[in-house]
Amino acid sequence: MEQQTSEYVIEMLHITKEFPGIKANDDITLQLRKGEIHALLGENGAGKSTLMSVLFGLYQPEQGEIRKNGQPVKIASPNDATALHIGMVHQHFKLVDVFTVLDNIILGAEDTKLGFLQKKDARAKVKALSEQYGLHVDLDAKVEDITVGMQQRTEILKMLYRDNEILIFDEPTAVLTPQEIEELMQIMRNLAAEGKSILFISHKLNEIMEVSDRVTVLRKGKYVGTIDTAGTTKEELSRMMVGRPVQLVVDKVPARPKEAVLTVEGLTVPSKVHKHDAVKNVSFTAHAGEIVCIAGIDGNGQTEFVQALTGLEKASAGRIELCGHDITHQSIRSRSQTGMSHIPEDRHKHGLVLDFTLEQNMVLQRYYEPQFQNHGFIRFGEVRSYAEKLIEQYDVRSGQGPVTVARSMSGGNQQKAIVAREIDRDLPLIVAVQPTRGLDVGAIEYIHKQLVAQRDAGKAVLLVSLELDEVMNLSDRILVMYEGEIVGELDPKKTTVEELGLYMAGAKRQGKERESA
């Protein structure tokens, strides 16, 4: 191996990757210095994922060259990428649901002795890593039983476990709590300080500003530019990314709450993972014409609360009243018909039937209504024209319109489809759980505007969010959930992010002390 002096550890030069009908990457150059944190910024569909897939050997570019330490390399498969010590935390987790966290981490890199797994050393190593970086996971829990946040941490540990040098984080913070994001930022800084090079794919401007050294911006498959983070602003970055000035905070007039739509009294939900209750004695009211937000760190009972509210799980005590009807013991279908639409937390698990077409998904909540069926026979014409209407109205983009298979759509457009479906049902209560998870600023702006418009149209919006920005910008009232309890009700205009953080972390609470179970 000859002496080389390249300052870049990985270079992707003039990469062009075409798909039928589109250049996903058009002459893109990305140069990663050793020990830097390099952000790759772009909207959904800008070509970030494609570029990373090229680097990871999943696609072969039509043009361009990849160099490692100045030497041209050929990456024909993920195995080649692994051999070059390139590791990736994917946006959609690549975990085996029925394996434990530890098994997932060592999967593909297992130590064996005479064909038997040797997990002891692996366990010690993973434990050390998880403590070192504060990535708390339950090594023996099955992936299907843990929260999305913990699954993400498992993915990150997987990469750390493999001692990779070039680490690609594909939107790693999408589901982390503010504190966890802070920790992750610290981990990334530590890793960079140890000489690892990090590619950080994101469209969250705050994080990019905070942690990255340089930013490369892509837009619609084209290279826009690479700039030093220190010399730029969020506004400039968002303009580069979207191609127009973006409204980062949604405009809204003060709420004019009217009658109560949803009343929850003393709702208690048992936990599936431990013996205590996941949701303890939660009571609140949501009124027409307001956005009530349930804020909290992931895993504090929000998921269980929403499942009990929507009927996916049973509550052990308490009462839920919707539009004057007691729905505590009603089925999912009858709750929905009473007036509840639900934008679910996990769009792949609950929100969509991924193998169905877009039009079939668009009527998932309504296929049984007289508009779409006649004596049990689906009215295909109606379904098609309804789907076309929603696609047009909510700007849901897909390859083949109504007959696109949902699985093949981008995450942002999948989410838009769900939002369109749920909002268009025109019901008095909208339960929106992390409605902008993993979306880019353009899509977030859009969904936020939609939710505010629904509020102004007299709907009650119950927003469950982990994003502090979203909570502060969007809600009219904030309920903070900590360990299954509502520990405070805050007015976003009169509170600060810091105060909210204290409530979320359990350091502060309003009202009388309740004994902790």
């Binding site: 039928p20 009908g21 959904n44 994922s49 929100g351 998932l364 897909s398 093949s408």
Partner: protein, 414 residues
Amino acid sequence: MKEKTPLLQRDGTRSVLASLISILIGLAAGALVVFLVGLFNKSMSVKSAWEGIRLIFLGLFSTGRSASGSLSFGFNPVTFGNMLFRATPLILTGLSVAVAYKTGLFNIGAPGQYLAGTAATLFIALEIPSSSVPAWLIWILAFLGGMIAGAVWGAVPGMLKAFLNINEVLACIMTNWISANLVTWMFDVSNLKNTVENTKTAYIYKTSFNGVQTPKMLLDKIFPGSQVNGGIIIAILLAVLMYIVFTKTTFGYELKACGANRHAARYAGIKDKRSIVLSMAIAGAMAGAGASLYWLAGNTEFYWSTYQSLPATGFNGIPVALLAVCNPIAVIFTGMFMSMLDIAGQQLTALTAYNEYITDVIISVIVYLSAFSLVIKLWLGGKAKKTAGPKPDANAEDPAPAVKTAANGKEAGE
């Protein structure tokens, strides 16, 4: 969209081609075996090997040997009718596997459901005296009884899956053997054993013994001398019914949604547990109907000692369904094809020194290949699938019309 897509690029066309390729490779493998056997067997000549190969491909049209001793071919109403008769239960067990598969379930329990249907049908058809109840009514009761018994037997693994999350394949394997033993025991203690022709043991009376028989529905005029009866028409009607239920109705939509994503179906208010049980019950009803129609033909006797083997008709539903890519309409044709192989096997035995086991070779090759039919289908899709398929993320943001034209252009070019 559909009318713009060239015929060769349609999903359906690819499925059909994939199945045809599987079938051709299977037949070719059978021909190869015939050839090799003929080559290494001193008593056979190249000519007899060639005859064997011709019978494999054209067995259905064999009319025996001409006066000069060479094979003759043409329309043979007997073999054709027998093919339809044997296709009847295969179509229905194929439907059983296919509809379950459409709802995300692998119904390997068709043999057990088939046996349950057999028992119910035979008991009803033979125990109700035709002297006091009209035969047509007994026939209807026996047919419905067979379907219901199959449905119940299918619902058991369905319930285990829905309520206890037990894998349906395991449950089906067990219910198959429970069924086999139960049926053997039931007939062993019954008074239905054929005592008239007592040279045979362990056989049950034909249903015609009680005067109960499926009407011929004029098919005996078209195929004189064969075993065919109206059962094939009922089987085809049931296939069409399944097609309609699964593609045109909200009920089918619910079952398919539940099969594709149980969680999302639940989220949308679909009763997921009920859907799973119903899917399996419908699958079981189809297998049960297959048994009913086979035995109600009244020209076959049931060998009741089943505790050591499960009916092959049940298992053959799997290749029938897979070859049809689980399309209920296609099942009609793949079912007929499988029974045609049976006939070809008979012709081999009757007309040449080969025996019918050659067709088992063909069937097993096709079974292997039918599992690959999806791969073949993707391969037929060629580059379009490879490049456009997995990464539409990039396409998604582009204005739709541009993508459409480009995609069509590409397809037309291929």
